[in-house]
Symmetry: C2
Subunit: 564 residues, 2 copies
Amino acid sequence: MISDKRIGVLGGGQLGRMMAEAANRLQLAVHILDPAPQAPAKQLLAAYPHVHASFSEPTAIQQLAAECDVLTVEIEHVDAKALAQVACPVQPAPSTIALIQDKLQQKRHLRSHSVPVPDFVECASVAEAERAGEAFGYPLMLKARRLAYDGRGNAVARTADTCAQAYGALGSGDAQKVGGVYAERWACFRKELAVMVVRSADGQVASYPVVETVQRDNICHLVLAPAEVPSSVADEARRVAEMAIKTLEGAGIFGVELFWMEDDSVLVNEIAPRPHNSGHYTIEASETSQFENHLRAVAGLPLGGTALKVPAAVMINLLGGPGLEEAARASLSVAGATLHLYGKPEARVGRKMGHVTVVGESVAAIMQKAQPILAAIDATTTDAAAAEANVAGAPSAERPLVGVIMGSDSDLPVMRAAADVLRRFSVPFELTIVSAHRTPARLTEYARTAAQRGLRCIIAGAGGAAHLPGMVAAQTSLPVIGVPVKGKCLDGVDSLYSIVQMPRGIPVATVAINNNTNAGLLAVRILGVRDSQQLAAMEAFLDEQEAEVMTKIDRLAKVGYEDY
Amino acid sequence: MISDKRIGVLGGGQLGRMMAEAANRLQLAVHILDPAPQAPAKQLLAAYPHVHASFSEPTAIQQLAAECDVLTVEIEHVDAKALAQVACPVQPAPSTIALIQDKLQQKRHLRSHSVPVPDFVECASVAEAERAGEAFGYPLMLKARRLAYDGRGNAVARTADTCAQAYGALGSGDAQKVGGVYAERWACFRKELAVMVVRSADGQVASYPVVETVQRDNICHLVLAPAEVPSSVADEARRVAEMAIKTLEGAGIFGVELFWMEDDSVLVNEIAPRPHNSGHYTIEASETSQFENHLRAVAGLPLGGTALKVPAAVMINLLGGPGLEEAARASLSVAGATLHLYGKPEARVGRKMGHVTVVGESVAAIMQKAQPILAAIDATTTDAAAAEANVAGAPSAERPLVGVIMGSDSDLPVMRAAADVLRRFSVPFELTIVSAHRTPARLTEYARTAAQRGLRCIIAGAGGAAHLPGMVAAQTSLPVIGVPVKGKCLDGVDSLYSIVQMPRGIPVATVAINNNTNAGLLAVRILGVRDSQQLAAMEAFLDEQEAEVMTKIDRLAKVGYEDY
């Protein structure tokens, strides 16, 4: 109805299956080329003829092309030459697929278009690899040019002594198949990031938010959306990813893997010319999924929105192995979790059998509620791997939403009441000392990183020349609540004036002198703007307060004022 | 993997198709009984055998049961007697399906369990219908007991004179088939509401949020989620809906249609023992869709969460007719819109061919961005119907998020600055006068309905004995920003103290005297807690402010302080 184009897909695995889900909703005809008659994608497509043959077999590709109006891929390891010879359009362009198949050519292409990538050099021999080691230092990453995925085709030389061994490990496969070796400068990254970019038939590109990918044994374990990175880094990651995809030809979705480096630069690791594991979260969390946008691009339809429709999402891969079934079952009892099983017949250890996407208020909150799923997976991996994964960036404690700060520990007795209110409303918070006059650098650091760290509101208390709330407000875009603390002279009016009389441009939400209870309650009301449960809790609190006074009114009426 | 139970579904239309989508994700085997070999549901289920026969044919039902471990339905007009005789379990219970098929029995059952329903009485003759008219008044609703849907089987007698005619219209069908007639007191409802309720195999029930359904020509046109109703009405609607489903036997999802009456009571209109059109929005907007929760209930798996994962959603039905294709295409360019086409071969006028769900920040905001879809539909309906639909509850103007109120119009020159800031940040707001001392009733009404009306924050300015901000804060759970307005005496310190020195329990976020700019900016920071675009806009504003001062610093350095 929206398009009559028959779309042929090379490959019928889970990526094809999730494309099929989107295609069915849009009533788009999809024909699958895959050797398995019951391939995951074919299971969902009863109404169309499929080709049961290898997606790297030229005659089968010809046959698919004869039946379809446009071809696309769910895997890049296809016969790009055969694709270049079919009569119908292919998206993305066969030249793009061929370029990406050869990772050395891919890197050269990106570098020639000024897309930042790690330093690399071709190594035709062990001696060249050793020279690369001298130039780049150790550890040194050696990579096969072709047929690499999920860490296969990579070898690490920790020292010059092991360079020959690492080189041999890569060459020991079919040298023709792997197409040679190149060396890359070791990427001392802070986090691995990924950005999905969709390119329309007319060359427009749009990117999804930056996510963090957490690997385990070189296979994607978790995807955290959005990535917790400074907004400048997120902007740079999207810019670099879009820039990289603009250099390629053809329409479709692309997965761009990135490194966030120690110096805050962002480098492209590699590109996938198809839907990508790091974009599965988009099915539940984004305005339009990566699969639907891929089909729209391929069919020449308008692209859909790429914004998140929920605050955050975490994707957990389910791999073949003893914990698989337990993890899948555990997901059924996690609120906001959606289970995807791929319909693959055998759960070979390490094979991607499904995934779970959990949505929620923040990545930290999701990680907490997803614990039963992660525990089921961890129970079957070695303790060492589990420990490593914890270090690798899986936050487990609840991340604070409110920062309670005070100029001095002498303010603590007064500030405590705010903490008590937050605890009562189950709002995660942090409480610390930040002195405007004695720790000005700390104040700046605290205020400038507050939003990035996930805080949504700050309560700042101070006495006398109470500069803390206003100076914090000047360096954050979060709402800041100021509490004037009563000192020994002037009854707190000094700090009240100092806090409330802010200049135009920088507001501080000031509450009554010493009234930290109200500061806490105001913070809860502010969080209620985002979280309807907090709004309801505040309504209940007001009702309770009213009931308390009503009881006193009753008692006063019964007992009389003399005996009250 | 999570369940080996083969699930047989009677009916293979769009509800079966959307069940199949969920089943495929969960790797649950679904066998469809439907006369059409290419029924919408079968198109998505290539791996399982189906039965090509009518879902009301006893032998076909037997055959399906022989192949499956549990049966369920996507339509209630099935042979309930045949279902009662199969060997495997049927969910919900055949007795429940039979009860619901006879709408008079359904009403009697609900009334006998104290579930509130409109007054009704059986009418075995025209004379009895006329007696019902005397008792209930006119207009009088006459309904066929059986085989009614989308307004068919209903007839309205506007006056006593037309009672016989209306009665005849219902009886004119196959009297055996319709099973008799009953009369219902005309429901003068404020809105039509609906609640999806899921009942697990062990009898636990959980409900989805209350939605508003907007009908056009007796067919569901729009579903607005959540419904804009007072929270007490929403609570009552869920209570009544859950209460009704608890009286029924068997597991699965149920759609409960409700009337919100003028006196704020909530009455059950009727119940569907299956997924329901009013629950389609749950696919994109809820933690777990109605279809997945139905399958989970039927298969004896744990139920999934029923909370909204996005702030709001609007579902738009796409009916067969000339505007269908245009509306479907228009949806592709609406951010947050997801198109569902059902794969039905012919687009008979009025047939449900698909739907679009649009998610967003609020129903009002969604209605605005969905205009191109609605316009495509409206272009093909009569103007009268379109006008009626507009009246029926489709808000189109942008709903305010911030309320700016002042005690007197003399405060306007000062308050205007807050409005200017909100306009600069594109925040929809309303501005009006609410006087604590001169219009106390209006104050209460304003404060108590503010959250329901979609406001997220209130800015209240007042001078002198400035009670407005505090009195508003006492009657809402929203954050209230107080602006002390400087009067003729005391320099505004009178109103500052009156606003800021609130008692413990009711905070007011006080800003500097007369500083409405900061009140507006604080409101934007508060909205930033929910809306990351606002947060980014505030960051940009702070940068801009800094740049302005930096320019002055440069100028001062260049020009020197004498000539500055």
